[in-house]
Protein backbone atom coordinates (compact mmCIF):
# COMPACT_ATOMS: atom_id res chain seq x y z
CA UNK A 1 0.00 0.00 0.00
CA UNK A 2 2.79 2.39 0.96
CA UNK A 3 4.61 1.42 -2.19
CA UNK A 4 1.52 2.07 -4.23
CA UNK A 5 1.04 5.54 -2.79
CA UNK A 6 4.71 6.39 -3.23
CA UNK A 7 4.56 5.38 -6.89
CA UNK A 8 1.30 7.27 -7.38
CA UNK A 9 2.92 10.33 -5.90
CA UNK A 10 5.83 10.09 -8.36
CA UNK A 11 3.39 10.12 -11.28
CA UNK A 12 1.32 12.93 -9.78
CA UNK A 13 4.39 15.03 -9.03
CA UNK A 14 5.70 14.58 -12.56
CA UNK A 15 2.38 15.86 -13.97
CA UNK A 16 2.12 18.73 -11.53
CA UNK A 17 5.69 19.87 -12.16
CA UNK A 18 5.01 19.77 -15.91
CA UNK A 19 1.81 21.70 -15.41
CA UNK A 20 3.44 24.22 -13.16
CA UNK A 21 6.38 24.85 -15.47
CA UNK A 22 4.25 25.48 -18.54
CA UNK A 23 1.15 26.85 -16.84
CA UNK A 24 -0.59 27.30 -20.20
CA UNK A 25 -3.22 24.60 -19.61
CA UNK A 26 -3.91 25.71 -16.08
CA UNK A 27 -4.22 29.37 -17.05
CA UNK A 28 -6.45 28.51 -19.98
CA UNK A 29 -8.74 26.49 -17.71
CA UNK A 30 -8.93 29.33 -15.18
CA UNK A 31 -9.72 31.90 -17.86
CA UNK A 32 -12.28 29.53 -19.35
CA UNK A 33 -13.96 29.23 -15.95
CA UNK A 34 -14.12 33.00 -15.54
CA UNK A 35 -15.60 33.32 -19.02
CA UNK A 36 -18.28 30.69 -18.42
CA UNK A 37 -19.27 32.54 -15.25
CA UNK A 38 -19.65 35.79 -17.19
CA UNK A 39 -21.60 34.01 -19.91
CA UNK A 40 -24.06 32.92 -17.23
CA UNK A 41 -24.53 36.52 -16.20
CA UNK A 42 -25.73 37.39 -19.67
CA UNK A 43 -27.66 34.16 -20.06
CA UNK A 44 -30.40 35.27 -17.70
CA UNK A 45 -32.72 38.18 -17.08
CA UNK A 46 -31.56 39.62 -13.74
CA UNK A 47 -34.84 41.48 -13.24
CA UNK A 48 -36.87 38.28 -13.60
CA UNK A 49 -34.79 35.58 -11.90
CA UNK A 50 -33.14 36.10 -8.53
CA UNK A 51 -29.44 35.19 -8.60
CA UNK A 52 -29.76 32.98 -5.54
CA UNK A 53 -32.20 30.70 -7.40
CA UNK A 54 -29.74 30.17 -10.22
CA UNK A 55 -26.55 30.22 -8.17
CA UNK A 56 -26.18 26.45 -7.57
CA UNK A 57 -26.68 25.66 -11.26
CA UNK A 58 -24.27 28.40 -12.34
CA UNK A 59 -21.60 27.12 -9.98
CA UNK A 60 -21.97 23.47 -10.94
CA UNK A 61 -22.38 23.80 -14.66
CA UNK A 62 -19.22 25.92 -14.65
CA UNK A 63 -17.31 23.40 -12.56
CA UNK A 64 -18.52 20.50 -14.71
CA UNK A 65 -17.27 22.16 -17.89
CA UNK A 66 -14.01 23.16 -16.26
CA UNK A 67 -13.44 19.61 -15.02
CA UNK A 68 -14.13 18.23 -18.48
CA UNK A 69 -11.62 20.60 -20.01
CA UNK A 70 -9.02 19.62 -17.45
CA UNK A 71 -9.62 15.91 -17.94
CA UNK A 72 -9.33 16.19 -21.69
CA UNK A 73 -5.66 17.10 -21.37
CA UNK A 74 -4.85 14.52 -18.68
CA UNK A 75 -3.45 11.90 -21.03
CA UNK A 76 -2.97 14.13 -24.03
CA UNK A 77 0.49 15.12 -22.86
CA UNK A 78 1.51 11.46 -22.62
CA UNK A 79 0.94 11.04 -26.35
CA UNK A 80 3.88 13.21 -27.33
CA UNK A 81 7.17 11.36 -27.89
CA UNK A 82 5.56 8.09 -26.82
CA UNK A 83 5.62 9.17 -23.18
CA UNK A 84 2.81 6.76 -22.31
CA UNK A 85 4.85 3.79 -23.56
CA UNK A 86 7.65 4.97 -21.31
CA UNK A 87 5.35 5.11 -18.33
CA UNK A 88 3.96 1.67 -19.10
CA UNK A 89 7.42 0.17 -19.54
CA UNK A 90 8.50 1.49 -16.16
CA UNK A 91 7.95 -0.75 -13.11
CA UNK A 92 4.95 1.31 -12.01
CA UNK A 93 1.89 -0.67 -11.09
CA UNK A 94 -1.20 0.23 -13.13
CA UNK A 95 -3.20 1.13 -10.05
CA UNK A 96 -0.57 3.62 -8.94
CA UNK A 97 -0.44 5.08 -12.44
CA UNK A 98 -4.19 5.62 -12.30
CA UNK A 99 -4.05 7.10 -8.83
CA UNK A 100 -1.14 9.35 -9.73
CA UNK A 101 -2.96 10.64 -12.77
CA UNK A 102 -6.10 11.01 -10.67
CA UNK A 103 -4.33 13.01 -7.96
CA UNK A 104 -2.75 15.31 -10.56
CA UNK A 105 -6.16 15.84 -12.19
CA UNK A 106 -7.72 16.45 -8.82
CA UNK A 107 -5.10 19.10 -8.02
CA UNK A 108 -5.60 20.70 -11.43
CA UNK A 109 -9.38 20.88 -11.06
CA UNK A 110 -9.03 22.02 -7.44
CA UNK A 111 -6.90 25.00 -8.50
CA UNK A 112 -9.45 25.94 -11.15
CA UNK A 113 -12.27 25.64 -8.60
CA UNK A 114 -10.30 27.59 -6.03
CA UNK A 115 -10.23 30.51 -8.46
CA UNK A 116 -13.76 29.87 -9.73
CA UNK A 117 -15.45 29.94 -6.34
CA UNK A 118 -14.33 33.46 -5.29
CA UNK A 119 -15.14 34.73 -8.79
CA UNK A 120 -18.59 33.19 -8.50
CA UNK A 121 -19.09 34.89 -5.12
CA UNK A 122 -17.85 38.19 -6.54
CA UNK A 123 -19.87 38.13 -9.77
CA UNK A 124 -23.15 36.94 -8.31
CA UNK A 125 -22.90 38.33 -4.79
CA UNK A 126 -23.75 35.00 -3.17
CA UNK A 127 -23.37 34.92 0.62
CA UNK A 128 -21.17 31.86 1.25
CA UNK A 129 -19.29 33.11 4.32
CA UNK A 130 -21.26 31.12 6.88
CA UNK A 131 -21.34 27.89 4.87
CA UNK A 132 -17.87 28.01 3.33
CA UNK A 133 -16.50 24.86 4.99
CA UNK A 134 -19.43 22.57 4.17
CA UNK A 135 -19.51 24.05 0.66
CA UNK A 136 -15.85 23.20 0.13
CA UNK A 137 -16.60 19.71 1.46
CA UNK A 138 -19.35 19.21 -1.13
CA UNK A 139 -17.15 20.54 -3.91
CA UNK A 140 -14.44 18.08 -2.87
CA UNK A 141 -16.85 15.14 -2.77
CA UNK A 142 -18.29 15.89 -6.20
CA UNK A 143 -14.90 16.65 -7.75
CA UNK A 144 -13.48 13.31 -6.62
CA UNK A 145 -16.39 11.66 -8.43
CA UNK A 146 -15.80 13.71 -11.60
CA UNK A 147 -12.09 12.94 -11.62
CA UNK A 148 -12.44 9.22 -10.78
CA UNK A 149 -14.43 8.47 -13.92
CA UNK A 150 -12.83 11.21 -16.00
CA UNK A 151 -9.29 9.93 -15.49
CA UNK A 152 -10.32 6.46 -16.59
CA UNK A 153 -12.12 7.71 -19.69
CA UNK A 154 -9.45 10.20 -20.69
CA UNK A 155 -6.97 7.31 -20.83
CA UNK A 156 -9.28 5.65 -23.36
CA UNK A 157 -10.30 8.55 -25.55
CA UNK A 158 -6.78 9.69 -26.43
CA UNK A 159 -6.51 6.77 -28.81
CA UNK A 160 -9.90 7.35 -30.44
CA UNK A 161 -10.86 9.64 -33.28
CA UNK A 162 -12.34 13.00 -32.21
CA UNK A 163 -10.91 12.58 -28.70
CA UNK A 164 -11.93 16.09 -27.57
CA UNK A 165 -15.52 15.38 -28.51
CA UNK A 166 -15.58 11.79 -27.38
CA UNK A 167 -14.73 12.55 -23.76
CA UNK A 168 -17.73 14.85 -23.07
CA UNK A 169 -20.10 12.46 -24.86
CA UNK A 170 -18.94 9.52 -22.77
CA UNK A 171 -18.33 11.39 -19.54
CA UNK A 172 -21.35 13.69 -19.14
CA UNK A 173 -23.86 10.93 -18.32
CA UNK A 174 -21.45 9.81 -15.61
CA UNK A 175 -21.28 13.29 -14.11
CA UNK A 176 -25.03 13.44 -13.58
CA UNK A 177 -25.26 11.70 -10.18
CA UNK A 178 -22.51 13.81 -8.54
CA UNK A 179 -23.92 16.89 -10.25
CA UNK A 180 -27.44 16.25 -8.95
CA UNK A 181 -26.13 15.68 -5.44
CA UNK A 182 -23.82 18.69 -5.48
CA UNK A 183 -26.47 21.09 -6.83
CA UNK A 184 -29.05 19.98 -4.28
CA UNK A 185 -26.67 20.23 -1.34
CA UNK A 186 -25.35 23.61 -2.54
CA UNK A 187 -28.89 24.96 -2.88
CA UNK A 188 -29.72 23.87 0.66
CA UNK A 189 -26.48 25.31 2.01
CA UNK A 190 -27.03 28.67 0.32
CA UNK A 191 -30.59 28.77 1.68
CA UNK A 192 -29.13 28.15 5.19
CA UNK A 193 -31.05 24.89 5.58
CA UNK A 194 -29.69 22.49 8.21
CA UNK A 195 -27.17 19.93 6.96
CA UNK A 196 -29.49 17.11 8.05
CA UNK A 197 -31.71 17.90 5.04
CA UNK A 198 -28.85 17.04 2.71
CA UNK A 199 -27.89 13.71 4.24
CA UNK A 200 -29.44 11.66 1.43
CA UNK A 201 -27.52 13.51 -1.25
CA UNK A 202 -24.28 13.46 0.75
CA UNK A 203 -24.58 9.69 1.06
CA UNK A 204 -25.15 9.50 -2.68
CA UNK A 205 -22.01 11.56 -3.34
CA UNK A 206 -19.91 9.47 -0.97
CA UNK A 207 -21.23 6.19 -2.36
CA UNK A 208 -20.54 7.34 -5.92
CA UNK A 209 -16.96 8.27 -5.03
CA UNK A 210 -16.24 4.98 -3.30
CA UNK A 211 -17.80 2.82 -6.03
CA UNK A 212 -16.23 4.60 -8.98
CA UNK A 213 -12.76 5.07 -7.49
CA UNK A 214 -12.68 1.33 -6.78
CA UNK A 215 -14.16 0.32 -10.12
CA UNK A 216 -11.86 2.60 -12.11
CA UNK A 217 -8.81 1.35 -10.16
CA UNK A 218 -9.69 -2.18 -11.26
CA UNK A 219 -10.62 -1.32 -14.85
CA UNK A 220 -7.78 1.10 -15.59
CA UNK A 221 -5.25 -1.54 -16.53
CA UNK A 222 -7.54 -2.74 -19.34
CA UNK A 223 -7.35 0.68 -20.96
CA UNK A 224 -3.54 0.76 -21.16
CA UNK A 225 -2.38 -2.87 -21.33
CA UNK A 226 -2.76 -5.21 -24.26
Amino acid sequence: MGDLLAQAWIVARKDLVLEFRTRTALLSAVVFTALVLTVFNFGRDPTAVATIDLAPSILWVTFTFAAMLALNRAFQLELENGALEGLLASPLSRVSLYWGKGVANLAFVAVVEAVGLPLFVLFFDVPVGSVLLPLIGVIALATVGFVAVGTLFSAMVIRTRFAELMLPVLLLPFLIPPLVGAVQVTARLLASRPLSESVGYLKLLAAYDIVFVSLASVLFRFTVDE
Partner: protein, 226 residues
Amino acid sequence: MSLAQRGRRITLVGLVLLAGVYVRALAYTPMERFQGPAQKIFYLHVPAAWSAMLAMGLVGLSSVLYLLLRDARFDRFAAASAEVGTTFSLVMLTTGPIWAKPIWGTWWTWDARLTLTLFLFFLFLGYLLLRSAVAEPGLRARYSAVLGICGLVLLPFIHLSVYLFRTLHPQPIVLKPSSPSLPGDMLITLLLSFAVFTVLYVGFVTQRYALSLEREAQGSGDVGRA
Protein backbone atom coordinates in the same frame (compact mmCIF):
# COMPACT_ATOMS: atom_id res chain seq x y z
CA MET B 1 -29.18 -23.58 -40.93
CA SER B 2 -26.87 -20.61 -40.73
CA LEU B 3 -26.88 -18.27 -37.76
CA ALA B 4 -28.37 -15.45 -39.84
CA GLN B 5 -31.21 -17.69 -40.99
CA ARG B 6 -31.86 -18.79 -37.46
CA GLY B 7 -31.96 -15.17 -36.37
CA ARG B 8 -34.43 -14.32 -39.11
CA ARG B 9 -36.69 -17.21 -38.12
CA ILE B 10 -36.67 -16.23 -34.45
CA THR B 11 -37.48 -12.65 -35.42
CA LEU B 12 -40.30 -13.83 -37.68
CA VAL B 13 -41.77 -15.93 -34.86
CA GLY B 14 -41.42 -12.91 -32.58
CA LEU B 15 -43.26 -10.64 -35.02
CA VAL B 16 -46.13 -13.13 -35.44
CA LEU B 17 -46.38 -13.48 -31.67
CA LEU B 18 -46.30 -9.69 -31.37
CA ALA B 19 -49.34 -9.47 -33.62
CA GLY B 20 -51.00 -12.13 -31.49
CA VAL B 21 -50.27 -10.26 -28.26
CA TYR B 22 -51.68 -7.10 -29.78
CA VAL B 23 -54.89 -8.85 -30.77
CA ARG B 24 -55.16 -10.02 -27.20
CA ALA B 25 -54.31 -6.59 -25.79
CA LEU B 26 -56.80 -4.72 -27.97
CA ALA B 27 -59.68 -7.17 -28.12
CA TYR B 28 -59.49 -9.50 -25.16
CA THR B 29 -57.96 -7.42 -22.37
CA PRO B 30 -60.34 -5.21 -20.37
CA MET B 31 -60.23 -1.46 -20.88
CA GLU B 32 -58.53 0.47 -18.10
CA ARG B 33 -61.25 2.41 -16.28
CA PHE B 34 -59.60 5.85 -16.09
CA GLN B 35 -57.22 5.92 -19.03
CA GLY B 36 -59.39 4.21 -21.65
CA PRO B 37 -57.77 3.12 -24.91
CA ALA B 38 -54.66 5.24 -24.24
CA GLN B 39 -53.50 2.63 -21.75
CA LYS B 40 -53.15 0.02 -24.53
CA ILE B 41 -49.74 1.44 -25.43
CA PHE B 42 -48.65 0.03 -22.07
CA TYR B 43 -48.25 -3.39 -23.69
CA LEU B 44 -45.66 -1.95 -26.06
CA HIS B 45 -43.98 0.64 -23.86
CA VAL B 46 -43.20 -1.49 -20.81
CA PRO B 47 -41.87 -4.56 -22.65
CA ALA B 48 -39.71 -2.29 -24.85
CA ALA B 49 -38.24 -0.85 -21.64
CA TRP B 50 -37.72 -4.39 -20.39
CA SER B 51 -35.83 -5.40 -23.54
CA ALA B 52 -33.68 -2.26 -23.40
CA MET B 53 -32.77 -2.97 -19.77
CA LEU B 54 -32.09 -6.61 -20.60
CA ALA B 55 -29.83 -5.47 -23.45
CA MET B 56 -27.85 -3.18 -21.14
CA GLY B 57 -27.57 -5.85 -18.46
CA LEU B 58 -26.20 -8.32 -21.00
CA VAL B 59 -23.81 -5.72 -22.44
CA GLY B 60 -22.41 -5.29 -18.93
CA LEU B 61 -22.23 -9.01 -18.27
CA SER B 62 -20.56 -9.86 -21.57
CA SER B 63 -18.13 -6.96 -21.01
CA VAL B 64 -17.02 -8.52 -17.73
CA LEU B 65 -16.71 -11.91 -19.42
CA TYR B 66 -14.72 -10.40 -22.27
CA LEU B 67 -12.19 -8.78 -19.95
CA LEU B 68 -11.84 -12.03 -17.99
CA LEU B 69 -11.70 -14.52 -20.86
CA ARG B 70 -10.67 -12.35 -23.85
CA ASP B 71 -13.00 -14.26 -26.14
CA ALA B 72 -14.04 -12.20 -29.17
CA ARG B 73 -17.52 -13.76 -29.06
CA PHE B 74 -18.39 -11.77 -25.96
CA ASP B 75 -17.33 -8.55 -27.64
CA ARG B 76 -19.34 -9.36 -30.73
CA PHE B 77 -22.34 -10.17 -28.56
CA ALA B 78 -21.99 -6.94 -26.54
CA ALA B 79 -21.89 -4.89 -29.73
CA ALA B 80 -24.99 -6.65 -31.06
CA SER B 81 -26.83 -6.29 -27.78
CA ALA B 82 -26.01 -2.59 -27.54
CA GLU B 83 -27.33 -1.88 -31.01
CA VAL B 84 -30.54 -3.79 -30.41
CA GLY B 85 -30.86 -2.09 -27.03
CA THR B 86 -30.56 1.31 -28.67
CA THR B 87 -33.52 0.45 -30.89
CA PHE B 88 -35.63 -0.79 -28.00
CA SER B 89 -34.86 2.31 -25.93
CA LEU B 90 -35.89 4.41 -28.90
CA VAL B 91 -39.22 2.53 -29.01
CA MET B 92 -39.62 3.13 -25.29
CA LEU B 93 -38.72 6.82 -25.57
CA THR B 94 -41.22 7.37 -28.41
CA THR B 95 -44.13 5.43 -26.94
CA GLY B 96 -43.58 7.04 -23.53
CA PRO B 97 -44.42 10.65 -24.55
CA ILE B 98 -47.32 9.44 -26.73
CA TRP B 99 -48.79 7.85 -23.63
CA ALA B 100 -47.79 10.66 -21.28
CA LYS B 101 -49.44 13.47 -23.25
CA PRO B 102 -53.09 12.35 -22.81
CA ILE B 103 -52.61 10.92 -19.32
CA TRP B 104 -50.13 13.26 -17.57
CA GLY B 105 -50.90 16.24 -19.80
CA THR B 106 -47.27 16.64 -20.82
CA TRP B 107 -44.97 15.02 -23.38
CA TRP B 108 -42.01 14.95 -21.09
CA THR B 109 -41.22 15.25 -17.43
CA TRP B 110 -37.99 14.74 -15.50
CA ASP B 111 -39.39 11.94 -13.48
CA ALA B 112 -37.04 9.29 -12.09
CA ARG B 113 -37.67 6.48 -14.52
CA LEU B 114 -37.91 8.77 -17.55
CA THR B 115 -34.54 10.23 -16.73
CA LEU B 116 -33.11 6.79 -16.15
CA THR B 117 -34.24 5.50 -19.53
CA LEU B 118 -33.06 8.64 -21.27
CA PHE B 119 -29.62 8.04 -19.84
CA LEU B 120 -29.83 4.40 -20.79
CA PHE B 121 -30.29 5.64 -24.33
CA PHE B 122 -27.36 8.09 -24.02
CA LEU B 123 -25.17 5.29 -22.67
CA PHE B 124 -26.03 3.09 -25.64
CA LEU B 125 -25.27 5.95 -28.01
CA GLY B 126 -21.97 6.70 -26.28
CA TYR B 127 -21.09 3.01 -26.39
CA LEU B 128 -21.77 2.77 -30.13
CA LEU B 129 -19.93 6.05 -30.80
CA LEU B 130 -16.90 4.81 -28.89
CA ARG B 131 -16.92 1.59 -30.91
CA SER B 132 -17.02 3.52 -34.16
CA ALA B 133 -14.19 5.83 -33.05
CA VAL B 134 -11.60 3.12 -32.36
CA ALA B 135 -10.04 1.51 -35.40
CA GLU B 136 -8.08 -1.35 -33.85
CA PRO B 137 -10.34 -4.34 -32.95
CA GLY B 138 -8.55 -5.43 -29.76
CA LEU B 139 -8.46 -1.90 -28.42
CA ARG B 140 -12.09 -1.34 -29.33
CA ALA B 141 -13.14 -4.50 -27.52
CA ARG B 142 -11.30 -3.53 -24.34
CA TYR B 143 -12.46 0.08 -24.36
CA SER B 144 -16.07 -0.77 -24.98
CA ALA B 145 -15.97 -3.46 -22.30
CA VAL B 146 -14.70 -0.89 -19.78
CA LEU B 147 -17.47 1.52 -20.80
CA GLY B 148 -20.10 -1.24 -20.73
CA ILE B 149 -19.22 -2.17 -17.16
CA CYS B 150 -19.12 1.46 -16.00
CA GLY B 151 -22.47 2.10 -17.69
CA LEU B 152 -24.13 -0.76 -15.90
CA VAL B 153 -22.79 0.49 -12.56
CA LEU B 154 -23.90 4.04 -13.37
CA LEU B 155 -27.57 3.24 -13.92
CA PRO B 156 -28.49 2.55 -10.28
CA PHE B 157 -26.79 5.82 -9.33
CA ILE B 158 -28.78 7.79 -11.89
CA HIS B 159 -31.95 6.12 -10.65
CA LEU B 160 -31.09 6.89 -7.04
CA SER B 161 -30.11 10.50 -7.73
CA VAL B 162 -33.32 11.35 -9.56
CA TYR B 163 -35.42 9.19 -7.25
CA LEU B 164 -34.53 11.57 -4.44
CA PHE B 165 -36.70 14.04 -6.35
CA ARG B 166 -40.42 13.32 -6.42
CA THR B 167 -41.53 10.88 -9.07
CA LEU B 168 -44.61 10.97 -11.30
CA HIS B 169 -44.31 7.50 -12.81
CA PRO B 170 -46.63 4.73 -11.66
CA GLN B 171 -45.06 2.70 -8.88
CA PRO B 172 -43.77 -0.77 -9.78
CA ILE B 173 -46.70 -3.09 -10.47
CA VAL B 174 -45.17 -6.50 -11.19
CA LEU B 175 -41.86 -6.90 -9.40
CA LYS B 176 -42.53 -5.65 -5.91
CA PRO B 177 -42.58 -7.16 -2.42
CA SER B 178 -46.37 -7.66 -2.27
CA SER B 179 -48.31 -9.41 -5.06
CA PRO B 180 -48.64 -7.66 -8.47
CA SER B 181 -51.29 -4.94 -8.42
CA LEU B 182 -52.38 -5.40 -12.02
CA PRO B 183 -55.72 -7.18 -12.65
CA GLY B 184 -55.22 -10.78 -13.82
CA ASP B 185 -56.15 -10.32 -17.50
CA MET B 186 -53.90 -7.31 -17.93
CA LEU B 187 -51.06 -9.01 -16.09
CA ILE B 188 -51.20 -12.02 -18.41
CA THR B 189 -51.17 -9.77 -21.49
CA LEU B 190 -48.23 -7.84 -20.06
CA LEU B 191 -46.27 -11.00 -19.25
CA LEU B 192 -46.98 -12.37 -22.73
CA SER B 193 -45.68 -9.18 -24.31
CA PHE B 194 -42.56 -9.40 -22.10
CA ALA B 195 -42.01 -12.88 -23.50
CA VAL B 196 -42.58 -11.71 -27.09
CA PHE B 197 -40.18 -8.80 -26.73
CA THR B 198 -37.57 -11.15 -25.31
CA VAL B 199 -37.99 -13.39 -28.36
CA LEU B 200 -37.60 -10.33 -30.59
CA TYR B 201 -34.47 -9.32 -28.68
CA VAL B 202 -32.96 -12.76 -29.20
CA GLY B 203 -33.91 -12.69 -32.89
CA PHE B 204 -32.43 -9.25 -33.52
CA VAL B 205 -29.23 -9.96 -31.59
CA THR B 206 -28.72 -13.26 -33.40
CA GLN B 207 -29.04 -11.53 -36.77
CA ARG B 208 -26.75 -8.71 -35.73
CA TYR B 209 -24.20 -11.17 -34.42
CA ALA B 210 -24.32 -13.09 -37.68
CA LEU B 211 -23.78 -9.84 -39.56
CA SER B 212 -20.59 -9.20 -37.57
CA LEU B 213 -19.38 -12.69 -38.40
CA GLU B 214 -20.01 -12.10 -42.09
CA ARG B 215 -18.13 -8.82 -42.05
CA GLU B 216 -15.22 -10.48 -40.32
CA ALA B 217 -15.26 -13.32 -42.83
CA GLN B 218 -15.09 -10.80 -45.66
CA GLY B 219 -11.57 -10.15 -44.51
CA SER B 220 -11.76 -6.84 -42.74
CA GLY B 221 -11.05 -8.73 -39.49
CA ASP B 222 -13.21 -6.22 -37.71
CA VAL B 223 -14.76 -7.82 -34.65
CA GLY B 224 -18.15 -6.41 -33.78
CA ARG B 225 -18.22 -3.95 -36.67
CA ALA B 226 -21.33 -3.66 -38.81
